[in-house]
């Protein structure tokens, strides 16, 4: 299977035919909602999730009683039993859970769309509530006893050496990526700066009205070499939710629907949760290549057709690497593409992460990226791209991942 990835030969003949896909064109995102994004919400994750769900349901023009499905993240502590009691959902018929941290973001839409397409439920909400800044911060070692007791066998091969936080896990891939392709710190810096520019025009963003320059990037403190502070996403408290139903029902609802062209998942051999270091090649994201190949296969769309994309951007190098894996550029060309920032700005060839992304709007495990992709379809982004027909989103990296393509 990894040989298949290295040879870049996706075996579409083994896949179901695109026309057999029941999600494509038949399902839609009809509501989006979010809490404020902050460094200290002052309330529980359950409340954050509940507020976001209510906002999304209202945005869709629905009532909470209409909701009969919920899809949660595995790495989320607001379970459906408690939510049903909190929100007073009378008749939940469908509930599912998607794995692998932020890799679950677009997976939740795939599962929700499958539920409404098959008639298992009518209106499914995907959600994520997290106090990731004031509570359990991913950027900090969570505590010695907890990790020591972890049954995650792979932790045993990294933690004793102090490789204990996500920036360092991604740093290891980045060193190799920079070595193989001659990518520079400045090129990564432009990713950070363009997203900051976008956030400066988005009043909901944590970094709204807080401009930064490439010099600020270079001067920001080194966290785990070669990654600086400005290469890392912003730990956030917040909640996001998304309502999915059929394209048919969407016609009678309040908002312009974002029609789901495809929602796919990808997994690859020899993987490990964010530390897939034992593969023949680590300057890459094979999971994303698989999710992308399946997405292009199902939708019949090609990268050059995409109008705007929200790449999962927990760290800057992940954007150039995804540009490569999803086929927007050749292998090794992602960093050159981002250099100077022109191509990825809202008026560029491929506008990226127009809300400011995880790096500068908020880190909501990919769900705020889906909200922004929907706004681009509706024409309501604070960095609106002209005449958007196709809006793409991707899920978390270094883990089994997912991707989503929406059309107007």
């Amino acid at each position: 299977m990894f040989d298949q990835y290295l040879a870049r030969k996706y075996q579409t003949t083994q896949r179901p035919a695109p026309e057999a896909n029941l999600i494509k064109e038949k399902t839609a995102i009809v509501g989006i909602g979010a809490t404020e994004f902050s460094k200290n919400s002052g309330r529980s994750e359950m409340q954050m999730a509940s507020e976001a769900i209510l906002a999304a349901v209202e945005d869709a023009g629905l009532k909470i009683e209409d909701i009969d499905g919920l899809v949660k993240f595995a790495m989320d502590y607001t379970d459906e039993m408690h939510l049903v009691s909190t929100l007073g959902i009378p008749d939940l018929k469908y509930f599912a859970e998607c794995g692998w941290g932020g890799g679950a973001s677009c997976s939740t839409i795939a599962h929700a769309a499958a539920a409404v397409a098959t008639g298992a439920a009518n209106y499914v909400v995907c959600y994520r509530g997290m106090n990731e800044r004031s509570g359990n911060r991913y950027g900090r070692v969570p505590g010695v006893e907890r990790v020591m007791a972890s049954p995650n066998d792979h932790y045993g091969y990294i933690m004793p050496y102090g490789l204990a936080v996500p920036p360092s896990w991604v740093a290891m891939f980045t060193t190799r990526y920079m070595h193989e392709y001659g990518a520079t710190a400045e090129q990564l810096g432009w990713v950070s700066i363009v997203l900051r520019e976008n956030a400066c025009r988005n009043p909901k963003a944590i970094f709204y009205d807080k401009p930064a320059t490439i010099d600020d990037y270079m001067a920001s403190k080194m966290i785990a070499e070669p990654l600086r502070l400005f290469d890392c996403c912003v730990d956030t408290d917040g909640g996001c939710a998304i309502v999915v139903t059929t394209a048919e029902r969407a016609k009678d609802l309040k908002q312009t629907p974002a029609i789901i062209m495809g929602a796919t998942q990808g997994i690859a051999e020899q993987g490990e949760m964010m530390t897939s270091y034992y593969r023949p090649k680590i300057s890459c994201l094979p999971e994303s290549w698989y999710a992308g190949q399946e997405l292009w296969h199902i939708t019949g769309v090609t990268p050059k057709d995409i109008d705007v994309v929200q790449f999962y951007d927990a760290f800057t190098p992940l954007i150039p690497m995804q540009l490569e894996e999803y086929g927007f550029v050749e292998l090794g060309e992602g960093c050159v593409y981002c250099d100077g920032g022109e191509r990825i700005r809202p008026d560029g060839e491929l506008p990226c992460n127009t809300s400011g992304g995880h790096l500068s709007e908020a880190y909501l495990h990919g769900m705020n990226l889906i909200n922004e992709a929907v706004r681009q379809i509706r024409g309501t982004s604070t960095n609106q791209v002209q005449d958007v027909e196709l809006s793409m989103v991707t899920g978390g990296l270094g883990v089994p991942t997912s991707a989503l393509l929406l059309r107007r």
Partner: protein, 142 residues
Amino acid sequence: MKMTYVQGIPILRPYIDFDNEEFWKAHQEGKLVFQQCKNCGLTVHRPRPMCPRCLDTEPNWVESTGLGKIYSWTTFRYDRAAYPGIQVPYIVVLVDMVEGVRMLSNLEGVEPEDIEVGMPVEVFFDRVDDDLVLPKFKRRET
């Protein structure tokens, strides 16, 4: 550069189970071992319950030469995003071993500015705690 451990903060322990026990136990005797399939000869790391090539389940361990080359690395610079039990800066490396497997460890005795991909390294054993010996790497002359 030598790693400095902070007194009173235990180093995180590997999770030892049936599959990896031999790997970690060998360090106590100053040996680095890898799993090698008796049937087809494939050497793998990390340890696992069966050979991924021929699915043979008979465990077999062979001693490593301890020699390898740096494949990638990161240097921890910021103490609040590092393991609190180790003083920054410290270096984590991926090493491609001559046996054809890759392993993760620390590099000592080399300044971060001097590391490069392909640098030849060799294993040494560091007793970091009463019950924990870790295989680590230092530069070797070719």
